[in-house]
């Protein structure tokens, strides 16, 4: 099992944080992991992305060129990386700001209104966690307990409330991924 995940969006959307959470939780669940950010001019005003590999064997290359999972937090990311997704791969679209549909029929697509859902929870900043919840629900990568444990290490003291908020965001994303209205299965299935 090797998941090659590419996460892309505007700076500030929490793209790197989604990747770090996946990598950290993957490691805690006993997988080999790598996290590689784009650190070039694009992250200084434009599209930022990171590659995460989670595998049950030694990771050969940390660079994700042909993702098994694409998380597109904005439209330019979908345009740029959709052609590279492997047939049978999974594409997650932040439908709050991406109007386009996935124009490939050989991948599973999920449209997650991350920002509306985050707004519903009262904090727009957890939109990335909504997305992570959806991704985790579909890929069944990580244990909720592991993510919770990590979040409780991250948010302590006066920020401890944020643990529940983030868990709720993950759950909301997960339920959205199970909603037929958000999902378009590949024709090959």
């Amino acid at each position: 099992m090797t998941h090659e995940i590419l996460i892309s969006g505007f700076g500030g959307q929490g793209v790197m944080a989604i990747g770090k959470t996946l990598a950290e939780a993957g490691m805690k669940d006993g997988y080999e992991v790598s996290w590689l950010p784009s650190y070039g001019p694009e992250m200084r005003g434009g599209t930022a992305n990171c590659s995460v590999v989670i595998s049950d064997e030694m990771i050969i290359s940390p660079i994700v060129l042909e993702p098994t999972v694409l998380i597109a937090m904005n439209a330019p990311s979908l345009d740029k990386f959709l052609p590279n997704v492997i047939p049978g791969g999974k594409v997650f679209v932040n439908s709050s700001i991406v109007d386009k549909k996935v124009d490939r029929t050989d991948v599973d697509s999920y449209y997650i209104p991350t920002m509306e859902m985050a707004q519903h929870l009262g904090n727009l900043r957890v939109a990335n966690m909504v997305m992570l919840g959806a991704v985790n629900e579909v890929t069944d990568l990580l244990e909720e307990d592991t993510i919770r444990e990590m979040l409780s290490l991250l948010f302590t003291g006066s920020k401890a409330d944020l643990v529940e908020l983030n868990i709720n965001a993950l759950r909301m994303g997960a339920s959205c991924a199970n909603d037929e209205a958000c999902m378009i299965r590949s024709e090959s299935q």
């Binding site: 770090k20 990598a23 490691m27 080999e32 790598s34 996290w35 950010p37 650190y39 001019p41 940390p62």
Partner: protein, 355 residues
């Protein structure tokens, strides 16, 4: 030991502190900024010294001063910054001072780009400064290996009284991977009887110097250095060879491209071509004899150097192979990373040429 997720640069800095480094002098430059940033935060906690110098030139000369007084000392920078340090590195080599220098390489020449590259191979292995000198050059391909090489590098520097350089591409600095920290004792570091620590009226003064104005003395000093370098060549060569039976084509690569070459080995296997990977871990001294023996095998038809440069390590590959097999090349420059497909295609081209 528990696995922890670490970013390459931060892991290198932490590894240095764990290895007993208590003096860091540097100047900011992307993509290695997390090293001085981490040092600035954590060095004071262990009673160490962090100085952001006014320039790279000042930083490397602070390293000279600290090393001369016996301190376990390091500096880090990225390509253009390492260029600025070359005079100091030559002086450190001349004065036989141990230190660790980390180069998280970016594209060049000049200011180049902040993206990862490997275009400083010549500078690191041939010496960018003046004079007949060498530094031991270690090339990590994973974050774990980078951490292990930090300790190893300091120890090698002390053992041979010479600068050691860790040469890594920007990706090693920026990526995160799992690290297991091994307990390393730092309370039994070797005595440095040569260091300028003050005579306290008990002994003759030690002198740290790279000036030998008398040509005979100067030649003797060079011969002495050379004997030391021969000793390093005899004892400290490190490499990894993953060469299957009936291997037809051997990739030679270091750092991140070694991982891409490993992916290319898989691509080729699916197409029925047996490929292998030879990864030099010490770039100087280069594992010349070891690569030669592999290239000599009957099944091997070609050797392919894979680099994020326009072709620098390939010179050492050609010296090692010494004409017994053709040497192909796959290289990218300016921050572009080769894909496993491109690496595999280079192997097929090399095999075609060999037939």
């Amino acid at each position: 030991m528990k696995k922890e997720l670490w970013k390459g640069n931060e892991a290198i800095a932490e590894a240095a502190i764990r290895a007993g480094c208590r003096h860091f002098f540097g100047y900011p430059i992307t993509p290695q900024n997390e090293i001085p940033e981490y040092m600035s935060l954590h060095m004071p906690k262990v009673g160490g010294v962090f100085v952001q110098a006014e320039s790279e030139v000042a930083a490397i000369n602070m390293v000279y001063g600290a090393a001369g007084s016996g301190a376990r000392v390091m500096t880090s920078s990225s390509s253009p910054g390492i260029s600025l340090k070359q005079e100091g590195i030559s002086y450190l080599a001349g004065a036989e001072l141990p230190c660790l220098i980390v180069n998280i390489m970016r594209g060049g020449p000049g200011l180049g780009t902040i993206q990862p590259a490997q275009a400083d191979y010549y500078q690191a292995t041939r010496g960018g400064g003046n004079g007949d000198y060498r530094v031991i050059v270690l090339a990590p391909a994973t974050i774990q290996e980078a951490c292990d090489q930090v300790r190893d590098g300091f120890d090698l520097a002390d053992k041979y009284r010479m600068p050691v350089m860790i040469l890594a591409d920007g990706m090693i600095g920026q990526m995160m991977e799992a690290v297991e920290w091994h307990d390393s004792k730092v309370d039994d570091l070797p005595e440095k009887a040569w260091a300028t620590t003050g005579t306290k009226g008990q002994r003759k003064p030690n002198i740290i110097n790279s000036l030998f104005i008398d040509p005979n003395e100067s030649e003797n000093h060079n011969l002495k250095l050379n004997r030391k370098y021969e000793e390093v060549k005899a004892n400290e060569i490190r490499y990894e060879a993953d060469i299957p039976e009936d291997c037809e084509v051997v990739f030679v690569a270091y750092g991140t491209p070694a991982r891409l070459a490993r992916a290319a080995v898989r691509v080729l296997k699916e197409e029925g071509i047996n490929a292998g990977l030879f990864r030099p871990i010490t770039l100087w001294p280069f594992p010349e004899r070891e690569l030669h023996e592999i290239a000599k095998r009957d099944s091997v038809k070609a050797v392919v150097a894979v680099e994020m440069s326009m072709g620098q390590m390939i010179d050492d590959v050609k010296i090692a192979v010494n004409g017994v097999k053709p040497v192909g090349f796959c290289g990218k420059a300016g921050g572009i990373v080769p894909t496993p497909r491109e690496v595999a295609d280079a192997a097929k081209d090399a095999l075609k040429g060999a037939r």
